[in-house]
Amino acid sequence: MTSKIRIATTSLAGCFGCHMSFLDIDERMLNLAELVEFDRSPLTDIEHCGSCDIGLIEGGVCNSENVHVLREFRKNCKILVAVGACAINGGLPAMRNFIPLEECLAESYLHGIGVEHPQIPNDIELPLLLNKVHPIHEVVKIDYFLPGCPPSADVFWKFLTDLLEGREPSLPYELVHYD
């Protein structure tokens, strides 16, 4: 039996930049490792999220798979956290929201420069795109938000240590950034 806090992380419509920033806590990772263990995460090879204390979600919701993954996290994580600009407001991927999906796909797969064998991919293994990219708080209930593109390593550290030490997480002025 372990009493370690279980953390799961994932990236939906994101760039993994938030995960990279998380890793930037550097040697503090060793301190963290004494207190937590990772469930489903790019840092592990666990495919599905088990029962967890904290879920960190990077990226917005752009396709059906994102919805399924997000729901899996919501179901299994006591505390669900939106990490980074894309999870909070759709971020860069949401800039496609102003172009109709038909045009996006046509430009990418049919008429774009350098496209060979034009066709819109339709394999049933591929998740379908939603009309718009949505922030995750529009799909499931979110408990905390860590803004930033990405949030700095110190944001992760401050947030997690607050939680681990039983404090209500808070970010001082210097740690609040949207860029």
Partner: protein, 595 residues
């Protein structure tokens, strides 16, 4: 076009304050405000083109893009909906082959919703090229579509389509006692204007628009201090859904209203008055203009009125489809030829009103009552009503009752008595004061019509037990989002958010957290908005949440959260493009294992 505009602008003496009137004429003639008209107007009126565009885009009846030769607008008031408006709208759309909110490709006809047209006692109602259509039925829709397809000019349509009845069902002090032409004004001259103001003060008369500010006090504030000019404005921008009393008062009692304005002018020292008539009532314009002319002929307006050495003229100005212009400072902005955006206060209009001069703005009914008090004295008036609400109130009653129409009740009358008088049975509740007012349930009908209890500008909409209150809440909430002027953040964004949130809940997609969020949002919009519109926009939700929490609760899903948008519908485009319809190409609205 330039010839037309030059002539038009000359008729308006090149006054930029007449911009709305000028734009109304251009819209009527061309069915939109063409870019070349804007450029030309900017030149001849010495305005910036962006100012003109701003005004055009502010008012619902002006368009930057061509509307149909026949511009059909159907009233979106809840009372029209209760009379079967939606089916008629669908029928119109089908028969005319035009979508709601669109212009038909051949440009013959456009069809759209419009806010309450003030014909709730004879709906479903609408407007065609500004002319009111009443008591719409499938048969009338047939006739209208035939007339349009035969290109018959609206002026030649059968008169019965435009028939408007006054439906005065109950009269009391103000509407019973006759008032010979000029008699109140003569009484004021005889008594002296300062003493007349004192008489009005003794009557206890309070503003009939709904807010109930003491009339004499407002007039006193306006006459104080130095000013080279003062103005008297009659607010006939009767836009509160469910209200139509001012239409009837102006149709039958205009002389008294104008007389009240003239007395006010004499008291405050104004030489110019305005009747700001809502665009929907443009059909009253000719008649009212003739009455003003007759009053000038009779020496009751113009120079040296009744030989007393004071002058006063009244000009009728038409609105162009903006509820917000019922707010007095927005109305003044509109009269000056601007967008109808409420001003920052202080200063108040009584010191800084029209063109920055002291101005009083009163409701039609207030001027009517002031004329009556001037003629008959304050004693009878002050003896009627309650401690804080003297005299009578004229109500527009509509909705689920046998006898919709105009009723004059003594203040202090119970809601129950009013309901019995108008023939309302099996009542669920009454919306009093329109969307910005309150919903009174059948359990509260012992409450009284009074400023200190249930105040109203005149709207009184009855709902019987077959009605779903949330339909009206939804209708009203959409109304406010449509009519918000957009000046301040809490109202501009908040009314749209309220609309989204109420649609989510009424659409069956809400959970417990959504009600909490809704209430929070209501409080924010109410407490932070710039003017009365935003401050009351959440009333329909708040007053029903308080009285019928179970109605809302019943709609909620027993889950912690549901998305505010339709997930599966959001995949439809991708399904279509990939020709997929397998299980993985769909999404359930709620996660499978959701508790």
């Amino acid at each position: 076009m330039h010839v037309f505009i030059d002539k038009l602008v000359a008729e308006h003496q090149f006054k930029a304050t007449d911009l709305l009137a000028i734009l109304r004429a251009i819209q009527a003639r061309y069915h939109y405000i063409p870019p070349s008209a804007i450029a030309h107007l900017a030149k001849v009126l010495a305005l910036s083109a962006s100012h003109i565009i701003g005004v055009v885009e502010f008012y619902s009846f002006f368009h930057l893009h061509p509307q149909g030769d026949y511009e059909l607008l159907i009233s979106d008031s809840i009372t029209d909906a209760m009379l079967g408006k939606q089916a008629l709208m669908d029928l119109l759309s089908e028969k005319l082959s035009v979508a709601v909110g669109a212009v038909r490709a051949d440009g013959l006809v456009s069809l759209a919703n419009t806010s309450c047209t003030g014909l709730c006692d004879q709906g479903p109602a609408g407007l065609v090229n500004g002319h009111p259509l009443t008591q719409l039925t499938p048969a009338r829709i047939d006739l209208i579509t035939t007339l349009i397809h035969q290109h018959i000019p609206v002026e030649d349509w059968p008169a019965e389509l435009f028939a408007i009845t006054d439906n005065i069902k109950k009269t009391d002090l103000l509407l019973t006692q006759p008032m010979p032409l000029g008699s109140a004004l003569a009484a004021a001259c005889k008594r002296g204007f300062t003493e007349t103001l004192a008489e009005i003060e003794r009557s206890g008369l309070r503003g009939r628009g709904g807010a109930g500010f003491k009339t004499a006090m407002k007039w006193q504030f306006c006459r104080e201090g130095h000013a080279d000019n003062r103005y008297v404005i009659c607010n006939a921008d009767e836009g509160e859904p469910g209200t139509f009393k001012d239409r009837v008062l102006l149709n039958q009692y205009a002389h008294q209203v104008f007389e009240g304005m003239t007395i006010a002018a004499a008291i405050v020292g104004a030489t110019q008055g305005f009747l700001y008539l809502r665009g929907e009532y443009s059909f009253l314009y000719e008649k009212l203009a003739a009455i003003l002319h007759a009053r000038c002929e009779a020496g009751l307006l113009g120079e040296n009125i009744l030989g007393q050495g004071f002058s006063f003229t009244i000009k009728i100005c038409l609105g162009a489809g903006a509820y917000i212009c019922g707010e007095e400072s927005a109305l003044i902005e509109s009269l000056e030829g601007n967008m109808g955006i409420p001003r920052n206060r202080p200063p108040y209009p009584v010191t800084h009103g029209y063109l920055g001069k002291p101005t009083i703005v009163n409701n039609v009914e207030t001027f009517l009552a002031a004329a009556h008090i001037t003629l008959h004295g304050s004693a009878t008036f002050a003896s009627m009503g309650t401690q804080q609400s003297k005299g009578t109130k004229i109500l527009s009653i509509c909705g689920d009752c046998l006898h919709p129409g105009i009723y004059e009740f003594v203040f202090g009358t119970t809601i129950k008595d009013i309901l019995e008088t108008c023939g309302a049975t099996e009542v669920l509740g009454v919306q009093i004061g329109g969307p910005s007012g309150v919903f009174i349930s059948a359990q509260e009908v012992e409450r009284r019509l009074a400023f200190e209890d249930v105040a109203t500008g005149g709207s009184f909409i009855v709902f019987n037990q077959t009605r779903n209150i949330l339909d009206s809440v939804t209708n009203f909430t959409h109304f406010f989002a449509h009519e918000s002027c957009g000046f301040c953040t809490p109202c501009r964004v908040g009314t749209s958010l309220l609309k989204q949130q109420i649609d989510k809940i009424v659409g069956g997609h809400g959970s417990a957290g959504d009600i909490v969020a809704l209430e929070e949002l209501c409080q924010l919009v109410k407490s932070q908005s710039h003017c009365g519109l935003g401050q009351t926009a959440a009333n329909p939700i708040l007053s029903t949440l308080e009285r019928y929490p179970e109605l809302y609760q019943r709609l909620l899903k027993k889950i912690s959260y549901e998305p505010g948008f339709d997930l599966d519908a959001a995949l439809a485009t991708a399904r279509h493009l990939t020709q997929r319809d397998d299980a993985a190409a769909h999404l359930a609205q709620i996660g499978e294992d959701h508790e």
